[in-house]
């Protein structure tokens, strides 16, 4: 009963009926700016197709903007397009082009400052400096947007979806290309990044820093400048993502630095220079991932501890694992390694001799990168074989005691 009373009371705060204003260049209400002035809290502004050059829209009321057939909002290379500073604003179905650029301020197509429940859905962003920029905002939904920019000089371009000090935001089903970082999270908590496609961005496809308790699921990161970076973060779940084709000397499928208590499951690391690079990370569990066609599948620095790799498939990598020290505090168990040459006499599907994933030569290359030139020569092959028989340089304790004989089929 008290709850019902509360609802009635809450409803009475709103105007009797929310209106809908229609902006049409052929009708009386021609400009979006004047519609914003006319609108009151809770109104909807429907924008008919056309080209609108009206500078910066500053939204300080709860308004729903709906574009019909993608009306074009042009920032004329000077303005930010939407600046939202109110709760419950929705921006749906617009095409936003040509925002200004600046080195000091972060000009974007949609910028949110201290908002709640902002929704940015079904928009197309072309040639924007920052795409969607969220600061101090909570409960935000960014869905089904296509963001594309043409970065020529790299520092002259901002991030696609940029969130700073936010909580509970959802970034779903967006397509981002040609930005600095596709998706950038700094101090963002309890958030979800799902089913996005981030490709050909200048630096990282996804960049996480100081962002705890987040998850990213079923995203594809393809051909970005340096892959994906997750840094200084704890409790991240990464599931079902594809990390593909990140080639270059400082480029990684997934770069983990100072990550704790995270879960990396069911991802595909395909054709990267380094599939996963880990530094200073603890207690992360890698399971059921596929590492295929990478230069190094996993590079794990000696300052990592308590991480474990279980039931992963390692296929056609040049080096399966590399490390830079002899002390290893991580475990590797029950993985499939295509370079395993052991036997299974008791036919339980588990190899009877342990597998050492770190080859002697990967240690040599770690110390002296140019020696990669001699890789696949006969002598190196002999060295590796003899090291396998009597390990002396490679970390003895880093071994898979239960290597699988057949690769895992995760679909079943």
């Amino acid at each position: 009963m008290r709850l019902l009373f509360f609802f009635v009371f809450a409803l009475s705060l709103f105007p009797a009926k929310a209106r809908t204003l229609v902006v049409d260049q052929r009708k009386s209400l021609k400009s979006i700016q004047s519609a914003i002035v006319l609108a009151t809290k809770g109104d909807t502004i429907r924008v008919m197709p056309g080209l609108y050059r009206e500078g910066n829209f500053i939204v300080k009321k709860s308004i729903v903007f709906i574009g019909i057939n993608y009306p074009v909002l042009d920032g004329e290379n000077k303005y930010e397009i939407f600046t939202v500073a109110a709760n419950d604003v929705s921006i749906i179905g617009f095409r936003m082009i040509n925002t200004g650029t600046a080195s000091i301020t972060d000009i974007s197509a949609v910028s949110a400052i201290e908002t709640k429940r902002l929704r940015v859905i079904n928009n197309q962003l072309e040639n924007t400096f920052f795409g969607i920029h969220l600061a101090n905002s909570t409960c935000t939904l960014v869905e089904n947007n296509i963001l594309h920019s043409n970065a020529e000089a790299e520092q002259q371009i901002g991030n696609g979806i940029h969130a700073w000090k936010c909580d509970s935001i959802t970034v779903r089903h967006n397509e981002i290309s040609g930005h600095r970082d596709g998706i950038y999270f700094e101090f963002v908590t309890h958030s979800k990044v799902e089913k996005n496609f981030s490709r050909a961005n200048m630096r990282y496809g996804l960049h996480f820093m100081f962002s705890h308790h987040d998850e990213y699921i079923n995203n594809t990161f393809h051909d970005n400048g340096a892959g994906v970076a997750v840094m200084y973060t704890q409790d991240v779940t990464m599931k079902g993502n594809h990390f593909e084709d990140n080639w270059g000397s400082s480029s990684y499928g997934l770069l983990l630095k100072d990550i704790r208590d995270s879960h990396i499951e069911d991802n595909q690391f395909l054709r990267n220079t380094v599939g996963v690079y880990m530094e200073g990370s603890s207690r992360c569990l890698f399971e059921k991932n596929v590492f295929s066609g990478n230069g190094w599948a996993v590079k794990i620095q000696a300052n990592c501890d308590g991480n474990s790799f279980e039931k992963n498939n390692f296929l056609t990598n040049t080096f399966d694992m590399a490390t830079n020290g002899s002390l290893v505090l991580n475990t590797v168990d029950y993985n499939y390694w295509d370079s395993y040459q052991g036997y299974d006499l008791d036919r339980n599907g588990i190899g009877d001799v342990p597998f050492h994933p770190v080859s002697l030569y990967s240690m040599v290359v770690e110390k002296m990168p140019s020696s990669i030139m001699l890789w696949r020569s006969f002598l190196v092959y002999l060295l590796d074989r003899s090291e396998k028989v009597v390990p002396s340089i490679t970390p003895e304790s880093l071994k898979d005691n239960h290597p699988a004989m057949k690769n895992y089929d995760y679909d079943n």
Binding site: I104, G225, M231, K257, Y277
Partner: protein, 306 residues
């Protein structure tokens, strides 16, 4: 020569009057494929090479005393002629030695000849043979290069003093750069932060350390810079330069010890260093007010980020 069964290699040195090194082993090996035994007596050159070298030395000294350009030219000519002569002679011997095989040899491979390489590396069956000049040869080459340089110098001096100076500066410059402890620009978009591994992107922030040995560390943020500076991986006294980007002049490196720093939560730098550097005190004060920050000098900055 290297081979799987001789991983440490076999070496033969040709001196002006004799042969040294593992000549016997090489000869023994060669015997299997029908090559003759290598002996000093095979080389009639050993008899007169010492006279040729002696003559060159005397001629060189003579040209120093005479101090005329034509002597320089003829000396260079002599060096070049001797060099070419020696190479041709060596080639002819190698050809004969490699092709003229004993038909009774234990190992015979049809169509295979074993001519050693003149200069460089060559694969002979499972042997990798390398041949190149040793100390004496390098001295010889060095003299030739020096003479040529001198001639160019002389020629330039006559033709155009200015051009020469420019060229000389370029040459000297390139020599210095090759082992310099000078700082270099930060390349945003390609350089990677030494501490956090991130690609440098924001040219309002960044820093660089150059050690006395010329090693350069680049950073994307004052946080990474100070953390590395304090990490003890390098002794702070080993840094020749400590530089930081001036916030107002993106990309410009200034001396980190003399810079003025503002720390404020308003500053969004790549690694949340919350600090920006300024070259002048005036611009520091302006931004300090704008961001409601605090002013830090270098001595205070290094105590942050612990």
């Amino acid at each position: 020569m290297w081979a799987p069964q001789y991983p440490e290699g076999l070496e033969m040195k040709i001196w002006y009057n004799t042969l040294t090194g593992e000549v016997r082993t090489i000869s023994a090996l060669n015997h299997y494929i029908g090559m003759r035994t290598i002996e000093p007596s095979m080389f009639p050159e050993f008899g007169y090479i010492s006279y040729i070298i002696g003559f060159i030395i005397v001629f060189g000294l003579a040209s120093v005393i005479v101090n005329k350009r034509f002597m320089l030219i003829s000396f260079l000519g002599l060096i070049l002629a001797t060099g070419f002569g020696a190479l041709i002679d060596f080639y002819l011997w190698g050809y004969d030695y490699g092709h003229n095989l004993n038909p009774e040899a234990p190992i015979k491979i049809e169509g295979m000849s074993y001519q050693p390489p003149l200069i460089g590396t060559k694969q002979l069956l499972n042997f990798t043979a390398f041949s190149g000049p040793d100390i004496g040869g390098w001295i010889f080459i060095g003299v030739g290069v020096l003479l040529f340089g001198l001639l160019v110098y002389e020629w330039k001096k006559i033709n155009d003093m200015k051009y020469f100076n420019f060229g000389f500066l370029l040459l000297a410059g390139s020599l210095i750069i090759s082992c310099s402890t000078e700082p270099e620009q930060l390349n945003y978009g390609t350089d990677v932060c030494h501490f956090c591994k991130m690609t440098l992107m924001d040219n309002k922030f960044g820093a660089e350390l150059v050690t006395k040995k010329g090693k350069i560390y680049k950073f994307d943020d004052i946080r990474c810079f100070i953390n590395y500076y304090n990490s003890g991986n390098d002794d702070p006294y080993d840094f020749q330069h400590a530089l930081v980007i001036d916030y107002l002049n993106p990309g410009k490196l200034i001396n980190a010890f003399d810079a003025f720093y503002v720390k404020s939560t308003e500053i969004r730098s790549p690694m949340d260093g919350q600090a920006a550097a300024f070259e002048t005190k005036a611009s520091m004060s302006k931004f300090k007010k704008e961001w409601k920050g605090i002013y830090l000098a270098w001595g205070e900055l290094v105590t942050q980020y612990k």
